[in-house]
Symmetry: C2
Subunit: 336 residues, 2 copies
Amino acid sequence: MDIKIVDVAAKAGVSPATVSRVLNESSSVTSKTKAKVMKAIEELGYHPNAVAKNLRSQKSMTIGVIVPDINASYFAEIIKGIENVAYASKYKVIICDAENQKEKEAEYLTLLMNRTVDAAILIAPLMSDEEICQISEKGYSLAVVGRYIEHDRIPCIYTDNVKFSKEVVQHLVENGHRDIVFLSGYAEAIDSYERLEGYLKALRDHHIPFRPELIENGNFNEEGGYEAMKRLFDKNLRFTAVFAANDEMALGVYKACAERDIAIPSQLAVVGVDNNRISKYITPTLSTVNQPKYTMGALLVEKLIDQMNENQFHDKRTFKVDSELIVRGSSNFRRE
Amino acid sequence: MDIKIVDVAAKAGVSPATVSRVLNESSSVTSKTKAKVMKAIEELGYHPNAVAKNLRSQKSMTIGVIVPDINASYFAEIIKGIENVAYASKYKVIICDAENQKEKEAEYLTLLMNRTVDAAILIAPLMSDEEICQISEKGYSLAVVGRYIEHDRIPCIYTDNVKFSKEVVQHLVENGHRDIVFLSGYAEAIDSYERLEGYLKALRDHHIPFRPELIENGNFNEEGGYEAMKRLFDKNLRFTAVFAANDEMALGVYKACAERDIAIPSQLAVVGVDNNRISKYITPTLSTVNQPKYTMGALLVEKLIDQMNENQFHDKRTFKVDSELIVRGSSNFRRE
DNA sequence: AAATAATTTGAAATCGATTTCAGGATAAAT
DNA sequence: ATTTATCCTGAAATCGATTTCAAATTATTT
């Protein structure tokens, strides 16, 4: 614990500079002295102090990720993509959980920015575009998942919510549905807004009148979907399909249906979003929209690392990725 | 970005020492000079360099957590417990995903140990007890979730697997089952071993002969449970209940049953472990064992911080926590 | 064998903060 | 008014590594 580079140097009979050289292979060292140093390191059980190292070398070879909720598999997959690509480029990844709190998000970002990491990736950040840009202006490396950012130094990647929402509605319409419930996540979330937009556009394309009473909000979780669905059932509205903001909420829909003996898909079609691992395993299997979560993380961090290495800003730094509709049992049924 | 404490000091017309004092409120400063310093900080947009600060003060007020898989809600809940208690004590928490790889676990632990954090918490670590103790001996603060560690400086918290496994089997036996499948997670995992032990003990207690062919292995995930169940069905064995290593695997069992039109619980009772959020939402609702995940994280980190502050080792540093069986639809059925 | 080039090595500066120690200013006590 | 105690402040040391620069060593060329 208390062994420092000078101790190793003393034991090996060389200078600290030389020990540093063998440690980092930063310049050539005679194989003989190298052996002496290695032996000393081994015998003393020396571990270099990363804090001192980072201070002097002005880098840490780590990337920080701030995630809104560590208990959401959607984000976990993105992080896996980030981690694997970063790791392959010798970067380590540390993750901070903002717990959907703006204040915590800001605090953790401050922690990361204060040179603890070389760059930070914000996943579905709560803070505004302006705040993000301001931080970037101060000279910190940033990247953003889940939102388009208008700033030439911030790589970002996001999905075309409007497009896939239209596809979902189109699919339901083709199967004979005209009264389609839209179960939104947080009403404030940008994703919710864009998905609603796609839903509305698709309705218009098919000359289906919009019925505002078919919109309900949940919280992107099972309970939210369940409660929202109960409210709808209680209102005795006419509808034959549900487009849920994500698969967790769709599972809530399943439960609400089970309680009322409503059969999926014959009485009610359900489509979720995210292609959660469970969606293949529940009964009936859940139709959903597959987002290339892993790839999104991987692509973004690749770009970020590129940018840090070359120390210049690429022309192509924003990525809008496509999602694909996966039709499974919960909506694979044609109404006459 | 390039603004340092000396710049602030110069602008405010004071020494760096004084700036440091207002920053850390480490000793009293005249309200007049304090105002000058604050103004300079504000105008320059100064952020202290945490690396330099940590080097000098020999602490970072952060705790690192190494988790085997960031995409497992079981661990996520533990981390929430850790994070909230740590945060309340002014500690920040950073998380590293070892992705079930021993090598990655070791690398991330090295990263954390090199003074990046003040202490590290290992969740269900892959490395051996000996390795963990060795690291502690070098003077690093460690704590462990999910395993008992024989070392007077390492707080640890773990569940009584044997006990709740016996309870699960007891519950099934009371409902008329005698041929109970045991779906293990990884065969090597200590949890799997202890749960098997509980299963065997309970059988013995009820004078039920052990049938080795009723043991199958999965991987703690949906697919593992599904595949294992298919293998069992294919062998045409006689059984009326399944005790799955966790809820994800139980969901795999659900799917395998759905495909063969086997009704749960009337034809097959199912019990999982972990009380995953989905377990309340699937149909039928899943009987499971609730582990106090959040509390485990919270309790452990509280002890860890205590130990760091007081700089002494408490008498009570190991915690064996109890879990409770939650009977729901999937096993709430009495065979005659 | 001498001169030159290339390679190793070490002393000292450096990264950017905190902290110690001592001196100066101010307040309290005599 | 002088002494004593208290409070602020700054100069310099420090944390533990890396990195620069120059000296020393070794290898190469003539």
